[in-house]
């Protein structure tokens, strides 16, 4: 039996050199999620092609372990160019296909990222009709954490 290292090379690489890190200033949707048990916080920003309802761009900010950071980065890659329907289907399997096996204890990181995408799409849908659009979202760490 081959034991996978706790942090695979691909995960380490994504963690150290994320491609989709940061905010999208004029984001069309922002998804904020947190896992109360492990303390991870994820925030995903999306830019939407409003005609076709396709995700044009996605970026993230994450407070969490190396897996959580690598997975946030990966899911941003995976949802780009996808319709909302297709983006919502990107889950653990799709992420693991790209990034390699994730230890069982870290599968919740993928679920959290999935929830962040869903929240971002819902945020877009809720605001797409309002004239002011989306702005002035709080930074990740001050997003309603109890002290």
């Amino acid at each position: 039996m081959i034991i996978e290292p706790y942090y695979s090379k691909k995960i380490i690489d994504r963690f150290l050199h994320p491609k989709n890190l940061g905010k999208i200033k004029d984001a069309d949707g922002v998804g904020d999620t947190q896992n109360l048990r492990c303390g991870d916080l994820m925030k995903i920003y999306i830019k939407v092609d409003k005609e076709k309802e396709i995700i044009k761009d996605a970026k993230f900010e994450t407070f969490g372990c190396g897996h959580a950071i690598a997975i946030s980065d990966m899911i941003c890659d995976l949802v780009k160019g996808k319709t909302f329907e297709a983006a919502l289907k990107v889950g653990y399997e799709a992420i693991a296909d790209e990034i390699g096996p994730i230890p069982p204890v870290k599968i919740h990181c993928a679920r959290l990222a999935q929830a962040a995408i869903k929240a971002a799409i819902e945020d877009y849908s809720a605001h797409s009709r309002s004239p002011e659009g989306r702005q002035n979202k709080k930074p990740c760490l001050s997003a309603g954490r109890k002290k």
């Binding site: 048990r37 959580a68 950071i69 109890k146």
Partner: protein, 409 residues
């Protein structure tokens, strides 16, 4: 890339002298100490020598030492074994349960043993600690009750290095035992009615006085692999006359308290390791370790904004640094440091399969977020000033990067 090891609280490398002492017992002197022939007797002798070495270190008699397969096993034996053997005084119905006092920041080996006893109907008090991680003796005194049979408080904490006032605690227990004796018409408290005091000294052994008489403990746990000995060996000191039942049953080894053919080579290794930690050279080295610790703490707190030291400034093991950083998660820091060749650990148990923040840091009153952002650096014999300087160089960069990722500030 040179590797820097700063996780000595997790485990230590085997001392060369320890390894040399162990080797014959794997091959040439492989006998079973229970055998009456020459092979067996040679192994038995080696084990007796190791027992003497431990007795010398702990200031007790050799027969008071029980070798086990790990410190966890020794903790289990101390707790499950004494509570099993304890007599509960006649009390009103519903109050005859054995009562155990421990702290909220114990090692899981102690906490889970207590939880198991709770499941079996025992009553357990988990004492809170102050913001530095210290057990308050006054709180302990208040918790002592007629049905209290055991107190288990660790000597020094594995995560934050806080050193507990073991002597003061034993004095408080002793006082209570004296009062209890006065209430007995015969004026003599039978064994089994006396409250026993156990301490897990696994992390303390490298640095602190473990004389059981000075400490005033009835039971004390040691581990070999935390003191430059091999993994898979522990020991329990159990004061003569202490009523204790085995947890493992079989051929009656170790005075019937721990059946199973002894790990002779490992026990010889533990004996040698205990001799080594008392050598003057290592005592001097411990001073250097303390200086490195202070340099790390001082510079981290000074150079990294939003950092805090967890645990006590004064009542602290000389090799322990535990710091939290706002906006950076512990495991991410550990894995980023590992990429730079620096091996550390997180206070939180996230990596060991549980997602909960560290029970120790939560007991100090830290927020979940701060508890998740903790980093533990534990120093040891191989560390040099260069190692410390490297950590101080790479750590701020890592924290800054992780803060950028988390969108902090």
């Amino acid at each position: 890339m040179p590797k820097i090891y700063l996780d000595y609280a997790a485990t230590t490398p085997c001392d060369p002298k320890v390894l040399r002492a162990m080797l014959p017992y794997f091959k040439k002197d492989f006998g079973n100490p229970s055998s009456i022939h020459g092979f067996g007797q040679k192994a038995l002798n080696a084990m007796s020598e190791a027992r003497e070495a431990l007795a010398d270190f702990l200031g007790c008699d050799a027969p008071e030492i029980v070798f086990t397969g790990s410190a966890t096993e020794a903790d289990n034996l101390a707790i499950l074994g004494t509570v099993k053997a304890a007599k509960i005084p006649a009390l009103p119905a519903g109050r005859q349960k054995p009562h155990i006092i421990t702290s909220q920041i114990e090692h899981p080996a102690v906490l889970e043993s207590c939880r198991e006893l709770e499941k079996r109907g025992a009553e357990v008090t988990y004492l809170p600690v102050d913001k530095d991680g210290l057990v308050q003796v006054l709180e302990l005194k208040k918790a002592l009750k007629p049905n209290t049979v055991l107190v288990s408080i660790m000597y020094a904490n594995n995560e934050i290095g806080t050193i507990q006032p073991i002597q003061e605690i034993s004095e408080a227990i002793n006082e209570y035992n004296i009062q209890k004796t006065k209430s007995v018409p015969t004026g003599h408290l039978p064994q089994g009615d006396k409250i026993l005091f156990h301490t897990d000294a696994v992390q303390a052994a490298n640095f602190l006085d473990c004389d059981v008489k000075k400490l005033g403990v009835d039971l004390l746990t040691l581990s070999a692999h935390k003191i430059y000995g091999p993994k898979g060996v522990g020991a329990l000191y159990a004061k003569k006359g202490t009523l204790i039942n085995p947890v493992i049953y079989g051929g009656g080894h170790e005075r019937g308290l721990r059946s199973g053919t002894e790990n002779v080579a490992g026990i010889v290794g533990l004996g040698q390791a205990v001799k080594e930690i008392q050598s003057p050279n290592y005592k001097i080295q411990n001073i250097r370790i303390r200086q490195f610790r202070d340099k790390l703490i001082k510079n981290i707190l000074k150079n990294i904004e939003g950092s805090r030291l967890n645990g006590s400034l004064t009542q602290r093991l000389p090799n322990n640094v535990n710091v939290s950083f706002e906006g950076a998660e512990g495991e991410a820091i550990v894995i980023a440091l590992d990429q730079k060749g620096v091996a550390t650990s997180t206070g939180s148990a996230c990596s060991s399969g549980s997602l909960e923040p560290s029970h120790v840091l939560m007991a100090l009153g830290l927020s979940e977020e701060t508890a998740h952002g903790s980093l533990r650096l534990t120093l040891g014999r191989t560390n040099t000033l260069k190692d410390i300087e490297k950590v101080l160089k790479v750590l701020p960069v890592i924290i800054q990067k992780l803060r950028k990722i988390s969108g902090y500030k």
